[in-house]
Symmetry: C2
Subunit: 399 residues, 2 copies
């Protein structure tokens, strides 16, 4: 293969950054004018690289390599979170361009709405055949409530066919992404070879008590939904370290007490709770313990708690042969400056992994920041990332 | 004294209920059209009872008895919480009218904005000389932000003098009020003689952590402000029963995690916490323990917690001679069907108690409900309440 033109790669990244520029970051929500402009920009770049681009009915942009296989599929997403960073998603798409520009047998993809303005991974799920029409009918923008169907029509996507994966065409899917954590930076490393993408299990814990005046109701009489929630969360904090794995995480993102006034005993409490791990067995242990703690809470407390699943993804282990190829490439280009690590965040690769071998490579995130306009990575790390990706892709294609 | 006309008393209550009627309750926020209509209605009733009514510059309506003393001051407030009950406040004002109608030497008062649409107890605080002009300049409606000054002008109150208490005129202040709890109902009792009004200490607990992506940040790296809050609240729950009194209460009304999203580790947590007791020594023990627990949290946790006082009221014990007169009256009219009890809620009487002997009498609340349009009390209990109030007032005036 020809060498990767890292200068051109960085120039493309900076050019894309100007579409929807916000401070040093980017505001390019799915299907907005800026997002659609970036998709057209991408199609132009694909043509320059000799790929044959199509934008499909869900907004996926796929640039097809015209030559003989075996092919790799390389990409990520191109829209951003609100007022977010310039690399999250864009990096993996522009890296795909760089591989194509170097003459490699790659198809390049930008999957629509990985960031979940409307759904979550709807582009990659559509491509693997796991986005039913009924779900498209139902989805709405999570910030302003516009129907997905209306957004697709206004973006000019209505009526276009949706492109499905073609069995046998791709030897695997590769995604370069920023780490969105501080593991690499803290260890002084420059590349991460991803072992797998964590499962994320999201729950809503709803406690029902009795709303009462905080002055007129004795402690013995109360059914304080907020207090029952606090007690259960403290128990989770005490118990989860006993059953978790070394890289498990669990997070309470929101606690809403209703009505939420200083002098009123909460009649209802709603907690958003999630847990993540890359190992299904660890996930199962944590979920078992969670259910047991809810059961115990319901025996002990006067406010019943209902555990409602919000979304339950499964872990997506990365393909061992692809991991090996990327690890060998990393050791060749950055000896001693890389490590294997799980991905704590969800990525399109977890859906592609359901239909083909898939793997991911991480570059460091400065201070671990992402989903914020200050998100950044050193340019030499970006350049090294795309070089390791290309070298790993070449090694894997040669197997 | 002449007997209390309880039929007329109940008729007055039902007539007042129609001003701002909402379902079976009342919506009469301070200084609204309905509130001002109720104040004018009250002045008409005062004139019928032979009182000389004035509405002052803060909206207090005071009906002055023209005859010789010693006088009692009797009353409560007339505005309501939003979409609230027909008795909270109105009961004590209309009871004052009933005593005046029976020929007793009482001045009757309706204190403005006990419910705190703008401030909280601003009428009774104005009357005792504890509402400075600067505070009136500053106050705004807590629901829609209108300035208190603008509301006073639109209600036609601007420029009127504010009436102050007249040292020596009143032998004491009496307030009949619904219990707003279930103590009387649960014990099968019909009258409560209030021993004192609890102090309410309100705090804001602010925890500062580090906002991070829930997938990219390991448990060891995290500074989760929400988790630090949960741990402290669980400790309070464990420790307060060791230092509280028999009727102490403590309440967490709100927990706000910032930014409050499922996949983001909260960088900030804000908790509204309050405690109540009628005994200053118990309050002091609870506050000492609270401060110690915050200190311990700050030694143990990575997210510092700041304890900010929001409002700190002091307990208001009821006058012993007045309590005795009310207790004797209750035993005479409802033998065995009454008890002494603290008030867990704040009332205008706690401010009047700063300048004269003050006492309160409770009638039962059906199911303990208040600050809701379903608030109610059996009519025979309302009638008994005003009779005990009158008998107690007569006994106290005779001492």
């Amino acid at each position: 293969m020809a060498a990767i033109d890292t200068t051109r790669f960085l120039r493309d990244l900076h050019e894309l950054r100007r579409i929807g520029e916000y401070r040093t970051g980017v505001h390019r929500p799915t299907y907005t004018k800026e997002d659609m402009e970036s998709r057209r920009w991408l199609m132009d770049r694909m043509r320059e690289c000799g790929l044959d681009p199509v934008m499909d009915g869900i907004g996926n942009v796929i640039g097809r390599h015209p030559g003989p296989g075996p092919h790799l599929l390389v990409g990520s997403h191109i829209e951003t979170q609100n007022h977010a960073g310039w690399l999250d998603g864009a990096l993996g798409v522009v890296a795909g361009l760089a591989l194509a520009r170097a003459g490699m047998a790659v198809d390049v993809a930008a999957w629509a709405d990985e960031e979940g303005h409307y759904g979550g991974f709807i582009g990659s799920r559509s491509f693997i055949g796991q986005l039913p029409e009924e779900e498209i009918d139902r989805l709405e923008n999570r910030y302003h409530g516009r129907k997905l169907r209306d957004a697709l029509r206004e973006a000019g996507l209505e009526g276009r066919p949706r492109i499905r994966w073609e069995p046998g065409r791709h030897k695997g899917f590769l995604e370069l992404h920023i780490e969105q954590g501080t593991q690499l930076e803290a260890a002084g490393l420059r590349v991460g070879v991803v072992t797998g993408i964590v499962a994320i299990r999201q729950y809503r814990l709803v406690f029902t008590g009795q709303q009462d005046h905080a002055g007129g109701t004795t402690m013995a009489e109360r059914r304080d939904a907020g207090l029952s929630a606090v007690r259960l969360l403290a128990e989770i904090d005490r118990h989860f370290p006993l059953v978790c794995g070394p890289r498990s995480t669990w997070t309470t993102g929101r606690i809403a007490l209703d009505p939420g006034a200083a002098s009123i005993i909460p009649g209802r409490a709603e907690v958003l709770f999630q847990l993540r791990d890359v190992d299904e067995a660890v996930i199962a242990r944590m979920e078992d313990r969670l259910r047991a703690l809810v059961q115990e809470s319901n025996r002990r407390e006067k406010c019943p708690c209902v555990l409602e699943p919000v979304s339950l993804s499964t872990p997506a282990p990365c393909d061992p042969a692809m991991q090996r190829a990327l690890a060998d490439a990393a050791e060749a280009l950055a000896p001693g400056a890389w490590q294997s690590m799980p991905s704590g965040a969800g990525h399109d690769a977890q859906y592609l992994a359901r239909v083909m071998p898939a793997a991911m490579l991480f570059t460091p995130s400065i201070a671990g920041i992402s989903h914020h306009w200050t998100e950044d990575t050193r340019e030499e790390d970006l350049a090294l990332g795309v070089e390791v990706l290309a070298e790993g892709a070449a090694r894997y294609l040669a197997t």
